[in-house]
Symmetry: C2
Subunit: 290 residues, 2 copies
C-alpha cells in the first residue's frame, strides 16, 4: 500500500473510534472537518519514510505513530487559527474550523484530537507493547511543554521572543518527533534520526517563512503575510529572500547527510531532495535555479 | 505516606518536567497556577483509594494514573472557564486561569496539561510497561471523544441535550476512569470497579447540581447559579432539593454495595460513606438529617 493510503487509512480508523455512535453530532462533524481532507501530510509521511528506510518491521506501530503525529498537528492548527491566536479564516484552502463550527467546538475538537492521538498509540501498539512508552514519550515531547508545539505557540505571548527556541519548539520539534518515532517503531536507534528531523524541520520553517512573504494564497491554502500582520518573527523578512533560499538549501543538504546507514538510506535521500523542491514557492523557482 | 502527600508529590513531579528550564516563562506560571493549590483532588484520591484497597502492588503506576487524572481534570477546568464556554471568573476560590494569565495562555495551558498527563503515564510506567496501554486507553476514554469530558462539554453546543449522556460524559466518565485506573494499576479487574465509579460520579454530579442551586460561593470556591445562568440542565432544579438529596444518598449506597471483595473493601466502604457527607451543601444538612 502506498504511503498516502496508509496515512489516510490510519487517520480514518482513529477518527472512526472518536466519532462512534452516541457522540454529540456537532463535535463529530468538527472532528472530521479538521482532519479531512488533509494538507500535504508532511509529518506522517516523514515518519513512515524513516520507518520504511529501516525495514518497517512493526507496521501497525508505525501507522499509529504517523496517525498520532498528524492528529496532533491538526489539533495545533485548529487551536492556532482561533481568534485569540492568529484569528485565521482560511486553512488548507477551506474556511478554518472555528469559522464553520464556532469557537467552543473548535476548542473541544483540538482537545479531542490530542487525546485521540495518545489513545490511538495505546490501542494500536497492542502487538508491540514495549514500543508504547518510547513512542508516547517521544511524540509528547514534540508537542507539549517545555519544548514542543505548545511551548512554541506560548513564546508568542512573551515580550522577547528568542527566534531559535520559538521555531525549534513550534515547528522543528514535531519533525524531530516524526523521524524519531519512525525509527522507534522500526526498532532503530532514534538518536541519529533526530538530526535528520531537526534539519528538515528547520528547512520547513524557513520555507514557511518564505511562503508567508512570497507565495500566493492559492498555492499554500492559507492567507499570506500573517507573520507581519501578527508581529511574529520571520527569517525571510529579516534575512531577505535570496539569503533565505540559500539557507533552506543548506538545511536540506544537512538533512540528507545526516541520514544514517540503513537498508533504505539511498531511497530516503532521494525522497528528501525531491520533497525539498516543493518547499520553495513557485514564484521563487528562479532564485533556486540561479 | 498519606494519600494527600502522594497526590501532590506526583503532580509536583509532573509539573517539574513540564516547566523545565528553557520554557516560555508565562506558560510555566500559568501551568503551575492551574494545578496548585488544588481543589479536593477527589478523582486522584479515588484512584489511590481503589488501588490501595487492592493492595497497591505498583505504587509508581498508581501515582502516575492519579496524577494524569488530576492533570486532565485541571485542563478541563481551565478550558471550561474560558469566555467561549462558562466565562467563569472564579475557580477553587481564586481568579480563573484566563482572568490572570489571559485567553491564549489558558488555552495552551489546557493543551499542555493534556499532553503532560499521557507523558507522565509513559514515563512513570517504566517498571510496569504492560500497564501503560490499558491505563492510557482507560484514562483517554474518560476524557476524550465519544464518551469522555470533551464529549460532555460538546453536548452543551447541541440544541437537544440528552441529560443522561451529558452528565455521564462530562462528570461520571472521569470517576469511572479513576476507579478503573486504580484497579488496573493494582493488577485487578477494572470491570466491577467501574460500577463503583459510575455510582460515585453520578452522586458527585447530583451533589454539584445541588451545590449550584443551594450552596454559598465561599463554600464551593466558584460562583453559584451557573447552570441557570448558562441555560444548562440541572437535576436539582428539575426534581427539587429534597428529592435530589434522596437520589444522592441512593447513589452513594449503590457505590458502597458495588465495591468488590478485596483486601481493603471494608475500609473503602467507610471512606466512601465519610466522603459522601461532604457532598451535601452545609445549609442542606437538615434535609439529610430528616
Amino acid at each position: 500500500m502506498d504511503i498516502h493510503k496508509r496515512i489516510e487509512r490510519g487517520l480514518e480508523k482513529a477518527i472512526a473510534f472518536a466519532t462512534a455512535t452516541g457522540q454529540p453530532p456537532k463535535l463529530m462533524a468538527a472532528l472530521r472537518y479538521s482532519v479531512f481532507p488533509g494538507g500535504a501530510r508532511v509529518r506522517p509521511r516523514l515518519c513512515l519514510a524513516v520507518a520504511g528506510a529501516c525495514g518497517d518491521p512493526n507496521p501497525a506501530a508505525t501507522d499509529a505513530a504517523a496517525a498520532a503525529i498528524e492528529l496532533l498537528h491538526c489539533a495545533s492548527l485548529v487551536h492556532d487559527d482561533l481568534p485569540c491566536f492568529d484569528n485565521a479564516a482560511l486553512r488548507r484552502g477551506k474556511p478554518a474550523t472555528h469559522v464553520v463550527h464556532g469557537e467552543p467546538l473548535s476548542l473541544l475538537t483540538g482537545d479531542a484530537l490530542i487525546v485521540l492521538a495518545f489513545e490511538t498509540l495505546a490501542r494500536e501498539c497492542a502487538l508491540n507493547p514495549m514500543l508504547l512508552a518510547p513512542l508516547t514519550a517521544t511524540i509528547a515531547r514534540a508537542v507539549g511543554s517545555p519544548h514542543g508545539i505548545v511551548a512554541g505557540q506560548a513564546w508568542e505571548s512573551e515580550d522577547d521572543i528568542p527566534l531559535g527556541d520559538y521555531h525549534r519548539a513550534k515547528t522543528t520539534a514535531l519533525f524531530t518527533g516524526a523521524t524519531a518515532a519512525g525509527a522507534i517503531a522500526a526498532n532503530a536507534d532514534p538518536q541519529p534520526w533526530m538530526q535528520v528531523g531537526e534539519a528538515l524541520g528547520a528547512a520547513y520553517q524557513t520555507a514557511d517563512d518564505l511562503r508567508d512573504i512570497a507565495a500566493e494564497e492559492a498555492e499554500i491554502g492559507k492567507p499570506c503575510g500573517q507573520d507581519m500582520a501578527n508581529g511574529r518573527p520571520n527569517a525571510a523578512l529579516a534575512d531577505g529572500v535570496s539569503g533565505t533560499v540559500m539557507k533552506l538549501q543548506g538545511l536540506v543538504q544537512c538533512a540528507v547527510e545526516a541520514v544514517p546507514v540503513c537498508p533504505g538510506s539511498d531511497d530516503l535521500k532521494l525522497l528528501i531532495l525531491g520533497e525539498a523542491k516543493r518547499l520553495v514557492p513557485k514564484n521563487l523557482a528562479h532564485v533556486v535555479a540561479a
